[in-house]
Every structure is written in C-alpha cells, then in structure tokens.
Symmetry: C2
DNA sequence: CCCTGTGACGTAAACGTTTACTTTCGAAAA
DNA sequence: TTTTCGAAAGTAAACGTTTACGTCACAGGG
C-alpha cells in the first residue's frame, strides 16, 4: 500500500492540512515545519494521489485528442505537437480514434465525460450538433484542429483556400499552363471544397482553363492518389503540372508516373500538400505546401488550456520547394 | 453542475446504494425499482463519475504507452493497435513520449503513478533498473513491446535474429552472392545486435562472406539510410543486395540509388524491415520483412490487462514480397 | 405460533485529498 | 495591562462513489 498524506502527517507530527498546504505552496506554516515535512515525504517516497485531488478539485489535468486515425502521417505529427505542449504544461493526453464513426465518437465522448477530462482537441472531422452538445454538457473546453464549425468554437488551421491558391499560382509561375488537381473526398466541406476553390480561383485569375474534368477525386490516401492520377492522365493527356490535396496522394501519383515512365519533374510537375514525412521520403523529394502540423498541435493545447485567449488561429502555410516541380 | 448519484437516488425515491447496485449489475433490488431508476437516469442524463469510482476501487481503466517518438511510422502503427484493443476492452490510453530521455521518462512515470494508471506498455527502449523500480512501486502491470529485459516481464516482439536470418536467406535464395546490410544504431542491444547477428549467421550458413565492412550503421532513419548506402557502395562496390534494418533506411537507400542512377532491383536488390506504410509508398514498392505491428499493439494490451496469462509472446515475422528484390 | 431464511432495501464508513473554519499563541498596538 | 492581529497550525466537511452491515417484512417449515 502506498503511503497517503495521513501517514506523512502522522510521521511528521502535523495535520494533513499542513501537509497539503506545503505541497500546494500555500501559506500557513513555518519554514521549519516545511523542511521537516518535506524530509518525511522524501523518506517515505510519498506521492500524491491525483485521483483524490481530481475528485475534489474537479480538474484532472488530462486532455483528449479525437482523431480519425492514429497511424496517419498527418495526425501523428499533430499528435506529437499536442503531446509535447501538454507535457510541458503538466497535462496528460489520451488518444481517441473516432474512425469517422459517429457511435464510436459518442462512446468516447461519454468515457471522457466520466473521466472528467479538462479539454478536448477535435481533429480533422466535422463537429456534429450531437458531438457539440455532448461536449458542452460535460463542461470540457474544446478546440478544433484542421476543421471548423458553425458554433463559436476556437480552431487552429491553415487557410486552405489560400494555400491551394498559392500552390496553384506557384505552378503557373513556373510556366505551367495545363494544370490538374488530385483532390480529396468529393464533397468534403472541410478539406476538399476550399482547396478545390483555391485551385480554380488561381487558374481563373491567371486566365487558365479550370474545367471540372481537370480535377480527379480520391480519398487523400496513397492508392487513391495513383488511381486519380491515372484518371487525370486520361482526361487531360497534356497535363503539365498537378496540385495534390495531400502528400500521400502526391506520392501515389509519383508512383504511377514512375511506372508509366513519365518523368517528374521533366514531363509533369507535382506539388503536394501537408509536408508530412512522406514528402521528404519520396523520390524525387516532394515539393509541397506545408502546414505547420507540429505547431498546430502545440497551439491547440495552448488554446484549450485557455492560455491563449480563446481565439481561433489561422496559421500560415508555406511552400517547401524540393524537386518535383520544374520550370517550363 | 452535473447530476450525481444522490440526485438520482432522491428523485427515484431510493438510496444511493440501490442506484449503485443497479448500475453495477449487482443484486438486491426488484425489477420494478430497476426500471424506475433507469428511467430517472435517462431523464436526468446522469453519468457516473469515474474519478470518484477510481478513488475507491483503485482502478482507473487507464493504460499508458511509453514510446520514444510519437510521429514515427513504427510507433504509430503499434499505437493504433493499442488504441483499438484498449477501446474494445473499455480502457483509455494515454501517450507518453520518452524521447529516449531518462529524466523525461521518470517524470512521466511519476505522473502515471499519481494518476494511478492500471497498466504500462513500454516500447522500443531499454527498461533501466530505475524505470523498473518505479513501475514496480506504483503497482501498475507492465508489458514490453519490441524490447525485452533481464527482469521477468512479459514482452511482445518478433524474433529479430531469426527474422534477419530469414530476410538474408531470402536474398541469397534469389541468387545474390555479395550482400550488405544497412544497420541501425551501432551497439543497440535490442534492435541492432540481433539483426546483425542474424544477417551474419545466414551468410555463414550459406558459405558467403560476412565481413564487418559489409555492414553500414545508421540510426534507423531515412537520411541515415541514404548515407549508409553511400558508404556501403564505396566499401563494397560489387554489392548485389542489401538488407536494411528498417523500412525508413531502405527508402533512404532507394533514394540514394535512384539519384545515382542505379536500378532497383535491376542492379541492386533491397529488402526492408518492419513493413510500415513507407514500404508500400516507396518506389518501387519495397519488399520487406514484416513485423505484425498492429497485432503487437493489440496483444500488448491483452497481456497488460492480464487477459492473456502473463506470458511473453514471440510473434511471427513474415516476408512481404513487393518489387525491390530481383532474381539473379 | 415461533423460528429462520431471504429478498429488498437503507445507513454509513471508507477512498485521499482540499479548504473553509476554528484555535492557539505570541507580539505589537493602545 | 489589555486588546488586537496575524502567523501557524488543527478540525472537519466536502468531493461522488462502493460496499460492509444492519433492518424489515414476508414466506415457509417445524
């Protein structure tokens, strides 16, 4: 049995209240008492019980991250940032894979409520009314990452439309005239629509064709990237450069192009999105529009802990030029 | 303020004990009472407080995973398995990045003790005496993943020596005679030594040269893979096939080879290790010795929860043949 | 008709803290 | 000398459960 505060108190010849005060740095004891108590604590190897503390303080110093998939380059990079910042701030983080599954998400939300988590970081998915209500009721603070909602909830993300616009513009500045796009899940309001809009808008602004058939939809994943690239090639045989909605899709496209013997960037230029580790490991190394994933994770915990006033953050994207975009 | 059991009890006209019994499926109440209480619970939207429960039961239904790096293909795949199985069993999992840093690890261990986690999954690192003692004192159960120790602690891993042996043998069966290896961190007792041993042993058994200069050391990472490959090429110019200690290193090697215009598998064959997502996304798709990462995660929680009797598990490795190994 | 057993509860004591209220005591103020 | 005040502590009531025990009524056996 681990020692409790009562044991420490008895051994030090004081009351539990005094021990508690010393542990919490409150006032109401002499320097001498403090020394003695701390010594006893060391001797006994006493460790406070956070559960008991949580029961009374109603704070658990625990955060939860809800994400669609744990083993995902995008998600795990953000997660790393969350873990780091939370650890610095003395919080624990528990992970919850939603699997884009409503009932699984709700079940997690219930567990989180029972466990009295202090804050929730909700990532990459649509916050339904059901989720929102559940979280509101449990009284945890909430922040959205890479998504947003109609409710007044702070979020941390990149300006997708602008980032897509910039990526596309970069391509035309490099002299490409026949552009294509490998997009994510068709109809996805959060991650697809704004990027497609940015892509089209950039083309329009540069007086370039932006027909719908220049966009091939996929699901952000590697294989869908290859498939989408193949479709795009059929529909736009003279395509010179393609903007991909994720690095994974870009790498899928790269793969297909390799297989077909089409040179990148010699014949076709490719630009990715996210700047996950897949980008640096690709061959050739993938030029991509970076999101500050790790930073997003860190900022998210700052916000959810209320250190940063509950304001949304639009983090800036950034081109990272590697070797898949050529000058034409 | 959320409702408590007391509120429910009052509204249902029973005592808290009865409510508790009903919630926990114990006996000692009539069907009728049960119905009434459950109805009240639904009406009020009552949710039990796991903190209070934990205080008295000394069980928190929480697991912790300690791993060197969160955003790592290997780790996140295992983590995904852990999350899945834990969720099925009704446990939460909290993540702790050790960063191969002793003091950070100890700090985490202290937090975990304070938070009374039920079990710890310790991954990919050496369990020092200090860690071991700390965990023993806190009374959490423990399981090792992809590592082992001198203490009698259950582990889940693959037989690295055998897997390396098999991978190497596969290469010689394909007709290669001049082999090389890209190894992980030199001296790493857990992840390097056994693989190097398996590599050498296979070469010896096939009567092939196994000089030390055929092994180039790195750190399991992508760039170290490219670097190591370059060194190996200098030292063994006629190398025909190389066994890499991780997929990431293999992909790094692939990259270097591409850059040098050396064909894979035409001129040199490459085989990886782990079968992370990097392997499928590589070009050409990487042949690799798979570890059942996701399964390892799941088994680890089974063991740590004591469902599987506290026995170590040596999971079987498996060749996954893709396109980086040719016949000579 | 009494005794015993059992089902259906209620009571209250834990669990290990925090914290609002005391209490005590010595020193400064009046 | 008395009053006042603050520092240094102690007491005990929370926090929301679980659970050992106690109570009560009723049924069945003798």
């Amino acid at each position: 049995m681990a020692y409790t505060m009562k044991d420490v108190a008895k051994r030090a010849g004081v009351s539990v209240a005094t021990v508690s005060r010393i542990l919490n740095g409150l006032s109401g004891y002499s320097e001498e008492t403090k020394k003695r108590v701390n010594q006893v604590i060391d001797e006994m190897g006493y460790q406070p019980n956070a559960i008991a503390r949580g029961l009374i303080s109603k704070k658990t110093r625990t955060l939860a991250v809800l994400l669609p998939e744990v083993s995902d380059l995008f998600a795990s990079e953000v997660l790393a940032g969350v873990e780091e910042e939370a650890h610095e701030k003395g919080y624990s983080v528990i992970i919850c894979k939603t699997a884009k599954n409503g009932v699984r998400t709700m079940k997690y939300l219930q567990t989180l409520r029972e466990n009295q988590v202090d804050g929730i970081i909700f990532m990459s998915e649509t916050l339904t009314k059901e989720y929102y209500e559940a979280i509101r009721k449990m009284g945890a603070s909430l922040v959205l990452v890479s998504t947003r909602s109609d409710y007044d909830i702070p979020y941390v993300k990149v300006d997708d439309r602008q980032a897509a616009y910039d990526a596309t513009s970069y391509l035309v500045e490099k002299g490409h005239r026949s552009l294509g796009m490998l997009s994510g899940t068709e109809g996805d309001l959060i991650a697809t629509v704004p990027r497609v809009a940015g892509f089209k808008e950039a083309l329009c602004d540069h007086g370039l064709p932006a027909e719908e058939h220049r966009i091939a939809y996929g699901d952000f994943g590697f294989s869908s990237g290859a498939l989408a690239m193949e479709r795009l090639l059929r529909r736009v045989p003279d395509v010179e450069a393609v903007f991909c909605a994720s690095d994974e899709m870009a790498v899928g496209a790269l793969s297909l192009l390799h297989r077909k013997g089409i040179k990148v960037p010699g014949e076709i230029s490719i630009i990715g999105y996210d700047n996950t580790r897949a980008a640096e490991m690709a061959f050739p190394p993938l030029t991509t529009m970076a999101q500050p994933l790790y930073q997003m994770g860190k900022k998210a915990v700052d916000i959810v802990l209320g250190h940063r006033s509950a304001e949304s953050l639009l983090l800036s994207h950034q081109m990272v030029e590697r070797e898949t975009v050529g000058q034409r």
